[in-house]
Symmetry: C2
Subunit: 165 residues, 2 copies
DNA sequence: GAAAATTAGTTGCATATGTAACTAATGGCG
DNA sequence: CGCCATTAGTTACATATGCAACTAATTTTC
């Protein structure tokens, strides 16, 4: 029986990680200095650009950020008058965030940059390949989430067993 | 003329980032507590598992890590006797790193975990799809690197122009 | 062959990020 | 109504990470 082999260069989590890093850095370079926007800030701006008004919680769910990161990045965007915060009347714990006029301008300026960058990334691919890539990435995400849930449920089951002893 | 639109959920850099994050976290969960190994440490172990002896510099190039990260993770692995360091005779600046017996045991224990995890990730895909995913990720990386180089050369050209003024 | 430039690796420092604890507000349930 | 649990959001703290400056060794250049 042959021993299982692992080649890091072929290993999917590794390839995903290095591709992501190169892609993210490349994109961030294009807007970070010019607009003084960090990656988490860009995610918030992009999310608010699509859905005019959202709470921090909704942004966190929608953009897969943790709530600490949203809180901090949003606070800075508010300070810089790129985003406004408006406390909800119905539930005074939550606050609606919205792009200011300036925020909309920044969004409008970054969108073409981002789309252009994306086009460059997929330069050598057919439309079908790009679609396939999107689909396969989505499947990876789905399977990773599924594996995480499974692990979590095993863990809580083990904790229950321990507690019952 | 229709204004260009961006949908974050469809945007490749974003999808890549969230898929990578879920995949990396899921994998790290499987070895981090049990073996007390961080992601950078795992990269070094995996690299040394393939190439028995390497310098920190070679590991950094091979595993796309920056030299600070390699230096720090390697120092910790040496401290924990998972890796040994041997200064080169020919060039006393560099040192060869190598897995200890214990390091090899850890590598041998993690490899099946990692491969199993990878199999789970690609559970719903055909072999051709997995191969295509690898290829497309590689193309993304290549294009991102190319874009980075282009940006860097433009920048240095601009610096030269400024210096000449 | 000595000074200057380069390279391997480490470390100081500033920043980024996640977890957990916290505050403030709301909802559930007796 | 009043207590307990839950939730939105912030913050304290510990850790992670990258850049730049550094040391030590080697190579290049004149």
């Amino acid at each position: 029986m042959a021993r299982q082999q692992l080649l890091l260069a072929q290993f999917l989590p590794y390839r995903l990680s290095i591709a992501m890093q190169a892609v993210s850095e490349g994109l961030a370079l294009r807007y970070s200095q010019e607009f003084g926007i960090s990656i988490p800030e860009w995610r918030i701006i992009a999310t608010l650009g699509e859905n005019s008004e959202m709470t921090a919680r909704d942004i966190a769910v929608h953009a897969r950020m943790n709530k600490t990161m949203v809180s901090r990045a949003a606070a800075d965007l508010v300070r810089r008058r790129i985003v406004t915060r408006r406390t909800s009347r119905e539930d005074r714990r939550e606050a609606f965030l919205r792009l200011t006029r300036q925020g909309e301008d920044i969004y409008a300026a970054i969108v073409p940059l981002a789309l252009d960058y994306e086009r460059g990334l997929t330069a050598g691919m057919s439309g079908a390949e790009v679609a396939m890539l999107r689909r396969l990435l989505d499947q990876l995400l789905g399977q990773a989430d599924k594996a995480a849930e499974k692990l979590a449920s095993e863990k809580s089951a083990a904790a229950d067993t321990a507690a019952a002893e």
